[in-house]
Each structure stands twice: as C-alpha cells, then as structure tokens.
C-alpha cells in the first residue's frame, strides 16, 4: 500500500524529477517510520493509517510545486546574470582577437560599424541594467507558503524584467553577428574567422538559453496554478 502511495506521489511530482526522487525517499522513510512507531504493529491497517495522516498526494504535490516554481525562478535570475556576463566575456574576447589579428576595416564600412556598434553597446548595457534589476528583484524575496495574487504579481514583474533584458540582449547579439559579418573578410572560412564565428555561436546559445528559461518558468507557473486549482 505504501509503495502505491509513493508511486502516486512521485507521479504527482513528475514536473520536477529531482524533487520527485528526493521527496519519494523522504516520504518512504516517514511512512515506514510511522508504521514502526504504531503500537498496532505492521499491517495493512497501520499502513493505511500512516498514509491517511500524511495526506492527499495531489495536495502535497501542489505545495511542492510552489517550492519548485520559486527555485526555478531564482535559477532563472542567476542564469540571467551569468548569461549576460558570458556574452560580455565573449564580446571582449572577440574584440581582443581582432586586435591580435590586426583586422583592417575599409573606410566605407567603418560608418556602418559605428552605427551598429552603438546599437550593440546601448542594447547590451540596457540588458545589464534590467538583468541586475531582475536578479535583485527575485533574489531579495522569500518564498510564500501560498500562491496568493501578490506572489503571482511578483512573478509576472520578474518575467517582464527577464523578457526585457533578454530582448535587449538579443538585439545586442544580432548586432554582434552583423558586426562580425561585416568584419570577416569575404565568404571563405579561414583560421582567423573561426573564433569570431564560434563566439557568435556562443552568444546565440546564451540568448537561446535565456528564452528557454523564461518559457520554462512561464509553463511552471501555469502548471502550478492548475495544480493548486485542482486541490
């Protein structure tokens, strides 16, 4: 009976596999401990009683969903900062590479580079400011015991900040890609063009990771609300 209960609890927690594994082990220990402590001894009735005292798996899963959502949100806040830092390092490495390789730029594209470079700079620093704001906003808050409207508003605000920072970062990455395309000599691949292309690929992957994270917390918030509504 306890195994069946643990299965249903693990299934209800399937939205977060690591949490599901951990909770399953904890609850298993708890339930067998409760059975062992029962003066009636082992038996189906004792197991049934321990399970009844523990509660409905859906209800417990809904409470854990809140904890999981809060963790994912904080992880997204940290990912935001790390990704922006990663893009910054990649950009600086590429610029250093251009300096080492002494890449010359013709006068006719210099003006275009200036305009795109300005867009790149402003977009990047905008993403830094909004990103730090988003991270500070989410990391400075506790995890409420209930999914009340105030908490939902906090999540919405954080998602907006994340989306704005990611949007600005995407503009910066596109500008970087454009700058790289303008700087690279011809369409042929050479040893000196490999690092700039690779660095752009890293920037694109970083921006993609952020989009993936934002999508993840949006989906988790929806599923948490649905789970809480059910219980």
């Amino acid at each position: 009976m306890i195994s069946q209960y643990l299965e249903s609890l693990a299934a209800a927690l399937s939205f977060d596999r690591s949490l599901s594994r951990r909770v399953r082990q904890e609850v298993e220990d708890h339930l067998w401990g409760a059975v062992a402590a029962d003066p009636r001894g082992d038996g189906l009735e004792t197991e049934r009683s321990a399970i009844a005292k523990f509660g409905d798996p859906q209800r417990i899963a809904a409470q854990f969903a809140m904890v999981s959502l809060a963790r994912r949100t904080k992880e997204a806040g940290i990912a935001l900062i790390l990704v922006i830092a990663g893009v910054f390092i990649t950009m600086k490495t590429r610029i250093a590479w251009y300096a080492v390789m002494q890449c010359a730029v013709s006068d006719d594209i210099r003006a275009v580079l200036g305009i795109v470079g300005s867009i790149d700079r402003y977009a990047f620093w905008l993403s830094v400011i909004i990103g730090i704001g988003g991270w500070a906003y989410v990391c400075g808050r506790g995890i409420p015991a209930e999914f009340h409207p105030r908490y939902r508003n906090q999540l919405r605000r954080f998602r907006w900040l994340c989306t704005a920072a990611t949007g600005a970062l995407i503009v910066s990455v596109i500008s970087d890609a454009l700058l790289t395309a303008l700087r690279l000599p011809g369409a042929e691949l050479s040893a000196e063009s490999l690092l700039p292309i690779f660095s752009i690929a890293i920037e694109v992957a970083c921006a993609g990771l952020l989009v993936f994270k934002i999508r993840g917390i949006t989906q988790r918030e929806t599923s948490t609300a649905a789970l809480l509504l059910k219980t």
Binding site: L19, R22, V23, Q25, E26, V27, E28, D29, H30, W32, G33, A34, A36, K53, F54, G55, D56, R59, I60, Q63, F64, M66, V67, A70, R71, K74, G142, I143, A145
Partner: protein, 110 residues
C-alpha cells in the same frame, strides 16, 4: 491559523537540534502537548521551502533501518529568524492576552 505560523513552528521544533521530517512532527506534537496535530504531509513542503530560503540545511544519512533519511538543521540565519519571529509572536501574544483580560499591554505588537 496554524498554517500561517507553520514556519515558526518548524523552526522552533528544530531549535532542539537536527532532525528528520518524522522527528520534527513528533517534536511539534510533544512540545505542543499533542495540541498541534498537523497533516503530516504539509511539513515537508515547509522544510523544503525553509531550506531554499537559507534558514535550514539538510543532508542524507542512513538510518538504522537501512533507509536513507534527510536530516534538517537550523542555519545561523535560521536561528536569527527564529529569535526574531519568537519575539514578534511574544509581543503579539502579550497584546492579545492583555486585550482579552483588559490589562494594559507592556509593549507594542508588530
């Protein structure tokens, strides 16, 4: 009403020392004179939440039964949070007590 004070109750139960979930529930029952008989499953999300906010730490141990068991303990931050929340509760409790008995409160409730 208990639900709103669950964090304080769990922190207070762990102030005696590190314990696993089942022992926390037993401690709550014992210290409340069996008055607090919470649905046992609600303790675990609270333990996880408090751990995530840095008020608790936890680690796995192997129990005598051979099963793996998660043991929770208060962090420094958790101890401070407990002290603060205890003080707030005592002020509040004193104010309510005074209100009900008609005596003047000694401090300002939070």
């Amino acid at each position: 009403m208990l639900k709103g004070h669950l964090d304080l109750i769990v922190l207070a139960a762990l102030s005696a020392g590190p314990a696993h979930g089942y022992a926390v529930i037993e401690e709550i029952r014992r210290r409340s004179g069996q008055a607090f008989d919470l649905p046992e499953g609600t303790i675990y999300p609270a333990l996880h939440r408090l751990e995530q906010t840095g008020l608790l730490v936890s680690h796995w141990v192997t129990a005598e039964s051979g099963r793996r068991r998660r043991v929770y303990a208060l962090t420094r931050r958790g101890e401070r949070a407990l002290t603060e929340r205890r003080a707030v509760w005592q002020q509040f409790s004193a104010a309510i007590g005074s209100l009900l008995t008609g005596a003047r409160p000694r401090g300002r409730p939070a």
